[in-house]
Symmetry: C2
Subunit: 339 residues, 2 copies
């Protein structure tokens, strides 16, 4: 591996000059610069980023802590799409991504903060974390490097967040059901340690109250954000609230589970029960019946997170919060209540 020294020797100049020549400083004669570049080429030199960042303190690297990068996440490719967005924007702005192996199985011995500090990332994006994550608080308080949280509403000097408007989205979903004549509307929510679950429940209540219906806590079931959880929740609904004619699910995956249960129990969607989901995962457009849902732009979530983080890094912004809009996608799983 050729180093800057080798070049200096061969070109007959000092390492300083080589460094400055290669980095485009203007206090080096164009002829010497040309020569140096020539030599660099001959030795097929490539700069050592490690050495460089040791002195410059810059790594042009963003740490990624995405806790739900796992096999199960393949169905809703949520983490994936977020990652794509981050990857694209970071790539454009010339940052590389360091994916930390947050191993959820073996108890992690190092905090996210420690990971990021050690590796000298300039900032981090965290996604998929539960509100009760033991290390989350530390990241926010330590405040030692800029970071942006996805779907966790904390802000601070050094921490920003981006999320889509779950409350409004949920209200939109429920209003869609209400407008179609439904009055007995259950909800299958995600686990309570997700900010979005809480928001979506608020949106659910809000819409109902707009129609003069007081939301009944008992109609909100926990589907754990999983397909099986959704299936189980739907089963409970059928047993305990047989008069329900429509269900709002806080994720498409749970909606898929709910539809599975309904099919098994001989109920037709949407004839007997209308189902609306949240996310718009790719399966939703292919399953049968096709799922009505609230589309969340997950790619944009990642894209904006990267943009925001880098803006913070290069302090171009004071903005610490970004709220994206969602969109109602009407397909086949909901219809006007038949009397």
């Amino acid at each position: 591996m050729a180093t800057i020294k080798d070049i200096a020797k061969k070109a007959g100049v000092s390492v300083t000059t080589v460094s400055r020549a290669l980095n485009g400083y203007d206090d080096v004669n164009e002829d010497t610069r040309k020569k140096i570049k020539q030599v660099a080429l001959e030795l097929s030199y490539s700069p050592n980023a490690v050495a460089r960042s040791l002195v410059s303190k810059k790594t042009r690297t963003i740490g990624l802590i995405i806790s739900d990068i796992n096999r199960a996440g393949a169905k809703d490719a949520f983490a994936y799409e977020v990652l794509c967005g981050i990857n694209d924007r970071a790539g454009d702005l010339n940052y590389d991504l360091l994916l930390f192996s947050t191993n959820p199985s073996k108890q992690m011995e190092k905090s996210y903060t420690a990971l990021c500090k050690e590796r000298n990332v300039e900032g981090a994006i965290l996604s998929g974390l539960r509100l009760d994550d033991p290390y989350l608080q530390e990241v926010i308080e330590q405040n030692s490097f800029p970071c942006v949280l996805i779907d966790i509403p904390k802000t601070g000097e050094n921490v920003a967040h981006v999320t889509s408007d779950s409350r409004v989205g949920a209200a939109m979903a429920v209003r869609h059901l209400l407008e179609n004549g439904h009055r007995h509307i259950a909800m299958i929510n995600g686990h309570n340690q997700a900010f979005v679950s809480r928001e979506r429940f608020e949106g659910y209540k809000e819409a109902l109250e707009q129609y003069g219906i007081s939301a009944n806590e008992e109609l909100a079931y926990d589907g754990k954000f999983s397909e099986d959880g959704g299936a189980e929740a739907m089963y409970q609904i059928l047993i305990r609230n047989p008069d329900v004619t429509a269900v709002f699910c806080a994720s498409d995956l749970m909606a898929l589970g709910a539809m599975r249960t309904l099919e098994r129990m001989g109920r037709k969607v949407p004839d007997d029960v209308s189902i609306i989901g949240f996310d718009d995962i790719s399966i939703s457009a292919y399953c049968s019946p096709k799922l009505t849902t609230i589309r969340q732009d997950k790619y944009e979530l990642g894209y904006q997170a990267a943009q925001l983080l880098i803006d913070m890094l290069e302090n171009r912004t004071d903005n610490r919060k970004l709220l994206l809009n969602n969109q109602l996608i009407v397909r086949e799983s909901t219809q006007r209540l038949q009397e």
Copy 2:
């Protein structure tokens, strides 16, 4: 940021001793070690991985060049599942992943080799590359760091590859159709710059010939590995080869496209035409009719790639090639030929 020097000063020892104490060398008294650890804690010291790797030449980082991490890849989450596998195994073995921003839009100015060398990754995993990728050859020839290729059959001193047995898989698929009485079987293949396309075509031919049918090149259409490509190819098949009763698609995504066309043209799957795909993406189990396909274990692909690379890094293996098995999943899109 506390450094090793700060600890040395505060603890009244040399930096050498601090380093050796913290790294568990046994030539340091247990009492001093305890004291040093105590001081380190007080200063909330965390080692600087950059400095460390500058001297040790080790970064415990694997470079990832996955060219198809993009929005479009969300449907078949191929890249995603591979990534999960890599992430899990690398995490277990304590390597971090550096995701290079291979920006396909703007012409990349740096080769993969340059990227990897600069950032001092210890090895790399490349996936989703086309055989005609301009930088692929360089990676293989330069041979400057260990790397494993996914779905590209090159090997060398420093380069290994892992892939699933596309040829056998394809033959399995086509044999399934043959066994169900089909004799006029078309194929919708991916683009020709993918190794797997070539292999799957070979498998297709092989199976046909086993049944005494000579494969007709004209029955193999190019679906470009995309849904729209598959749809278009199916359209061509209907026009040019109306007697075809079954189609083998080299990816589920193309199969989905083919089914879309068939539906639009009023043909029933599988009554009029049987369709079999390849991959087993998640949509395949939900679409209607559910897709018969050849399951590829994408997660395992990534998992084994990481394992193999790290084995190479820590030279525990001479193995440079890994072939995974596929599996026929019979669902609803194929059936016995009706006469």
